[in-house]
């Protein structure tokens, strides 16, 4: 089995699926000749030609809106946003058009667009190449939101997104595009949307996370294990719909929860998870739920390391809930 990076696994999924299904088109800024600024669409133009791999004007609203129109027509458009920080220019298209088309047409029309692109921090990209805006999309009924942390999941989730009928926001943590490698099978397989993955088994503390933070949490869990704290790590993989069953069954076992994400803490996705746990499993809790998140500031250029959850802070939170 080939060992692929996250970026290569997504490229592989795109290529294989485009070979199988000629309704799939890829569109976005610099996705053709340039192969995307992170080279995720590299080689697709050469293989599939300019009608299916479309270098577009610099226009997020048009990229998303045009993709919606193509999906209404019956194509399967995959729109690349160069950075999720740039998607706000096309936000109205996502929120008003794409997410609500099925609803406002009483189910007569649908726009199963996939909007994919790099997200989150870790590359010294400053405030416009580092944000984690997933909560906006989770808060928009009609969208599914996926954030893979591993090459295997990225391929399987992208294929799953292509096999279903709802619009999908597919966020690729750019800091791990090339740093995380894994064996990825050739050919088609699916990682189900809405299913979390218990990436590390443990009995004392549950850490719920997603995206690039999964890897930091795994490091922190390893550190904690040296202090005889057994940590269970849940990689959510999908934020909407999220896997409440996996979360609850882990909490019923551990009774102690830490939630970790890059996005700002206040009203971040962790707030929803914490509230849901409080509603459903309060009596299983042995300690307050702690969130380790990005700060409630714009994303800074300097000291990005401290802005984001560090292994040290995650480890501290684990110890705190374990010893409460």
């Amino acid at each position: 089995m080939p060992v692929l990076t996250l970026a290569a696994a997504i490229n592989n999924a795109l290529r294989e699926q485009m070979r199988k299904d000629e309704r799939i088109v890829v569109l976005g800024e610099d996705v053709g000749k340039r192969g995307g600024v992170f080279l995720v669409t590299e080689g697709l133009l050469e293989e599939f030609g300019p009608e299916r791999v479309i270098d577009t004007p610099l226009s997020e609203a048009a990229i998303f809106g045009v993709a919606a129109g193509m999906a209404i027509y019956g194509l399967k458009p995959i729109a690349e946003v160069q950075f999720f920080d740039f998607a706000f220019g096309g936000f109205d298209q996502i929120v008003s058009q794409i997410a609500k088309l099925r609803y406002r047409s009483g189910g007569q029309f649908k726009a199963p667009v996939i909007i994919r692109g790099p997200v989150a921090g870790g590359i010294r990209g400053g405030m416009f190449h580092s944000q984690s805006p997933e909560a906006y999309y989770v808060h928009t009924a009609g969208l599914k939101v996926i954030v893979p942390a591993f090459p295997y999941d990225a391929k399987g989730l992208l294929i799953a997104a292509l096999k279903q009928d709802d619009p999908v926001i597919f966020m690729e943590p750019k800091s791990i595009y090339r740093t995380v490698k894994q064996e990825v099978p050739e050919g088609e397989y699916i990682v189900p949307i809405g299913k979390a993955n218990v990436i590390r088994q443990g009995n004392d503390v549950t850490v719920i996370t997603y995206g690039a933070m999964v890897h930091r949490v795994l490091e922190a869990a390893e550190e904690a294990s040296k202090e005889k704290i057994s940590v269970e790590v849940i990689d959510l993989r999908t934020l909407m719909p999220y896997d409440i069953d996996t979360i609850l069954s882990s909490i019923k076992k551990t009774g102690r929860v830490v939630i970790v994400h890059e996005a700002p803490k206040t009203l971040g996705f962790g707030a929803e998870i914490a509230a849901s746990i409080a509603e459903r499993a309060l009596l299983y809790l042995e300690a307050p739920i702690i969130r380790v998140c990005g700060q409630d500031t714009p994303f800074p250029l300097a000291n990005e390391h401290y802005y984001l959850p560090t292994v040290k802070r995650i480890k501290k939170a684990i110890t705190k809930v374990a010893t409460f």
Partner: protein
């Protein structure tokens, strides 16, 4: 592009040379007239239904009937429409039954949109994609639809409707720019009705016309009298050919919104009654009627009978429509996703339970 294309003038008198280029049978002309008439009369009823507390809101079409009706009559059956929220004439000219339209406005159990949104014109059987109320957002999807047709090499044209206010938004620019770059089979039909709620055209742009904006996108611009249905018909026929041949078109149709923006608006706050009365003299229905009568295609008596018949039909349909039961609360949760996710299922169960308790007692 600052010249105005017109075939029938405000007095109902035709330009003989231009008229001779249009090949329309008397039956077709009468059908167009009838569609405008149904649109006008039903529009009044939808206003009334809102005043009666039966319909949530209505954005009246009065004074703009020639545009939507003219465009449909100039289109082919494979063409597609991306309307705004003011385009009742599109549904009428595409043959939507009055009862269905009433069901939509009353958001009752037979509303094909399941009470999910008011005042939107659309439906798969009419090749019509319901709009987004935030203006100009739908233009990009219309553009993408045309782009897909081009990729699939299907011979059809997309008609994307917009108003003058929409031309101030970014999505307008981004969509027309895209259509120009990819040479798409699309016609943007701008109904310049002089107002975006209270803001007059001169607050939207310093550009002399809307049509002239086409130049910057490398597409074709046309400026026509939108209160003259034959000018609309003829220009749209030409625009359709142009779009099919890889030259998208922006057609500016000059018209005037005689009514309020919506049932929630009070236009006396921002424009004079004199102005409205002055513009009423130029409205499209009266003009077309004068023309048809002067040509012996329609008699006063036939016109009167046609109006009576339409009135009676609508009245009867209203009587039926208001007896149709309301939607079940469960419809709130339908069509959010292709399948109901767990959290919506949970929310639905709670609301349905409450609804059923309330409706049992």
């Amino acid at each position: 592009m600052s010249e105005l294309y017109q075939i029938i003038n405000e007095e109902g008198v035709e330009n003989k040379q231009l008229l001779s280029k249009i090949n329309l049978s008397n039956d077709k002309l009468l059908e167009m007239y009838k569609h405008m008439l149904i649109t006008r009369i039903l529009d009044g009823w939808l206003m009334k239904l809102q005043r009666m507390g039966k319909a949530a809101i209505h954005a009246p079409n009065e004074g703009q009937e020639a545009i939507a009706v003219g465009v449909v009559h100039a289109s082919e059956k494979e063409d597609w429409f991306f309307p705004t929220y003011r385009d009742l004439g599109l549904l009428i000219a595409k043959g939507a039954p009055i009862r269905e339209i009433l069901n939509r406005w009353l958001a009752n159990a037979q509303d094909p949109l399941k009470g999910h949104e008011f005042a939107i014109y659309g439906g798969r059987k009419y090749n019509m994609v319901p709009t987004t109320t935030p203006v100009s957002v739908h233009l990009a999807a219309a553009t993408g639809f045309a782009h897909a047709a081009k990729i699939k090499k299907d011979k059809l044209v997309v008609f994307a409707f917009l108003g003058d206010g929409a031309t101030s938004k970014g999505d307008f620019h981004e969509s027309l720019n895209w259509a120009g770059v990819f040479k798409l089979p699309i016609v943007y039909v701008c109904q310049n009705n002089q107002y975006a709620i209270s803001m007059p055209f001169r607050r939207q742009t310093a550009s002399e016309t809307i049509a002239i904006k086409a130049v910057a996108y490398g597409i074709r611009g046309m400026r026509i009298d939108g209160n003259d249905i034959l000018a609309v018909y003829s220009a749209i026929k030409e625009a359709r050919e142009s779009a099919l041949n890889g030259m998208p078109v922006l057609v500016e149709c000059l018209t005037y919104r005689l009514g309020p923006h919506t049932t929630a608006d009070d236009p006396t706050r921002y424009r004079s009654q004199e102005e409205v009365e002055e513009m009423r003299k130029k409205e499209p229905l009266k003009r077309f009627r004068t023309f048809l009568i002067s040509k012996g295609i329609l008699t006063e008596k036939e016109d009167e009978q046609m109006r009576k018949d339409i009135e009676r039909e609508i009245e009867e349909e209203v009587k039926i429509a208001i007896t149709i039961p309301p939607l079940h609360v469960q419809a709130i949760f339908e069509d959010v996703y292709s399948e109901l996710p767990w959290h919506l299922k949970e929310q639905m169960e709670e609301i349905v339970k409450e609804y059923e308790e309330d409706h049992l007692s």
